[in-house]
Symmetry: C2
Subunit: 392 residues, 2 copies
């Protein structure tokens, strides 16, 4: 096991009606003037925005609204947020939405306390040392941003999708009411589930030996997702299944399931070019890329893939030919993804094989990426090709 | 799933040599004058105390030492600590040791900021609202106190063992170097492992339905313990096995594996009377009590015990007679405990069946305890009796 620090100071406030305490938690964590940050009209139409405002009002906390965050959140909205925060003297950002909204809120929180261009953080020029406090009211189980120190923003000029991370970005609190997910369409629900599973797999495939506790925790989250996701696709108002997925999504990405080990994250990097190019859902892109990545790299550690197949997917171990077990596990993953309505190849995603060279180029790998297997640009191109052609 | 808050703000600093950064973390969390709190001479002899002092010296942080914490830590030492803190103007408590030392440090931290008698917290007269910051350097994997808001203290007058809990008691940081555990005797190692497993089982047996994610996380910790504990008993210098157990012990008790569900904790309550009466190790007492409690209550929810048997112990499900599966799981647990050198009955523990009425009386159950199964005094007596007679 590698040395590590684990730090997840967010207070998670989970369950029915908890959004009505948003004001209480903003106050607890020192907010005296709030930017409510959100995306489209759904939180307006559902009444969630009104409930949040009422709870702030109850605590006599003034607020400014900034809506309009898009999926794959853009730098332009971040600049607008930073300007608003500075102009209005805001000291707390409350994100109401999914990963895009929370990531945008984090970028605003860090950018507001930084003298330079916030994009410096996302172009790896400097590290985020401080940020305004952020709280969240989560409306999609997917990105895990409610419990992570990560943020991904897309620069409109060139559609560059880049991430930044810092403990300073970890939310002070995250309010998580599974009922708020009832009205999510099945496709978005499935995209979220795929993202959650990908967050685990990115940590599961490691070259670090003997990290049994994190292996088992990874498997715990994956098995929960395999059980609960089809239930929620079939029955969107199933509170218990929604609740299990929602909490699993957080556990998947606080880094609890990844400490003490080298992680991969190549599938995320390879996918980011798809969602930047086609503006597709991140989860849908991952559904296409991740099994392709697995097929391309599994020979690097057949027994690790066999372990996943046996422990997660319930495949019987082929002791004579573990490779067959490993491959069966990958096949089960792809079958699962299709069963919940995810695309599994370029055609189903709406991607075009002719764009592969451009995406490889934009990924900006000079020589090679790190992780479980080091990938050169040609490897990335090969993985896109496998993803393009995939069938069951 | 029940509504819950989950809050584990401790920064865990895990791995080789990390104790040399104790001073850095004390400074990070605002300590300017430190009480180093510890137990016996082992941390002196091993050089750990000197390394901690050197790291505080490097940051120019003055300190006072207070050693002599006993297992089942006593109120007298807490009073001494509170007096020292107030006299010396100390603003940070650094506990170097195991659960007893950390629990004592937490009691001092809370008591120092309280006008009345600190025992008020432990006799349920009032709740802990604030405490001095506590940091830990952990030397035993067992109690989970390094990541919890809990503390258990024994009042010498009458040997009353009582607990208090508050988020204010959660350590600011916990330094966890598995190498510090190398010299733990096998018996203490096994006691710690038993305590860790008990912390999970106390949460696993619940009346709350459909908490798959916490079920799976519980099972993840238990399976890790079942794999790693025998390795460490056989080979105390096995870093990887020590590391897995040490981190599993923390995960077992931050409450991550218990959120969203009713918990039990009767075995802990019943055991506390054993360790208060005989001054035996808490883990050894749990090894005797917990399987007895399981045998006494399993009919309350046979399928839950069958699930534990199948998923944790690898028992084949008897679909015709699930009760046999449930019982086989309990048997495997007791066999496991014996295999790692734990006592499994009163005689092996050094307890006496004639003391049962006194222990039941001292437990102070007016009518009945709550949890998975509500227990009346006669039920507690019956569980002690089963524990007394247990054999494999």
């Amino acid at each position: 096991m590698d040395n590590f620090n684990f730090f997840s100071p967010t207070e998670f406030v989970f369950g029915k009606d908890r959004e009505n305490d948003a004001g209480v938690y903003v106050k607890k964590y020192g907010g005296s003037k709030v930017l409510i940050h959100y995306g489209g009209g759904s939180i307006v139409r559902s009444g969630l925005l009104d409930r949040i405002k009422a709870s702030l009002g109850k605590e006599n906390i003034p607020y400014i609204e900034l809506g309009g965050v898009k999926p794959n959140p853009r730098d332009s909205k971040v600049y607008e947020g930073i300007e608003t925060v500075r102009r209005e003297g805001i000291d707390f950002i409350l994100a109401a939405g999914g990963g895009s909204t929370i990531d945008s809120a984090k970028a605003i929180a860090a950018g507001s306390l930084y003298d330079g261009d916030f994009w410096d953080f996302y172009s790896y020029k400097t590290h985020i040392e401080k940020a305004l406090p952020v709280g969240t009211v989560l409306t999609i189980a997917a990105a895990g941003s409610e419990g992570s120190g990560d943020s991904v923003i897309t620069k409109e000029d060139g559609m560059l999708k880049r991430g930044a991370g810092s403990d300073a970005l970890r939310p002070k609190f995250s309010i998580m009411n599974p009922e708020l997910l009832y009205t999510l369409p099945p496709y978005q629900t499935a995209c979220g589930a795929t993202d959650i599973m990908a967050h685990v797999f990115e940590r599961y495939f490691t070259n670090t030996k003997e990290v049994e506790i994190t292996d088992r925790l990874c498997e715990a989250v994956l098995m929960t997702m395999i059980k609960e996701t089809p239930r929620v696709i079939a029955d969107p108002y199933n509170y218990e299944a929604r609740a299990n997925i929602m909490w699993a999504g957080t556990v998947a990405h606080t880094n609890l399931v990844g400490v003490g080990r080298e992680q991969d994250w190549n599938s995320h990097g390879i996918e980011h070019e798809l969602s930047a190019k086609y503006d597709c859902a991140h989860g849908a892109g991952l559904a296409v890329i991740m099994p392709a990545w697995m097929e391309y790299v599994y020979k690097h550690d057949v027994m690790r893939f066999a372990q996943a197949a046996v422990r997660v997917w319930g495949v019987k171990m082929d002791f004579f030919n573990p490779e067959l077990t490993a491959l069966e596990g990958i096949k089960r993953f792809r079958m699962f993804l299709r069963s919940i309505g995810m695309p599994i190849n370029f055609k189903e995603l709406g991607a075009d094989v002719k764009d592969i060279p451009e995406m490889v180029e934009k990924m900006g790998i000079g020589s090679e990426t790190g992780g479980f297997v080091h990938l050169k640009p040609q490897d990335v191109a090969n993985i896109y090709q496998i993803a393009s052609d995939a069938e069951i």
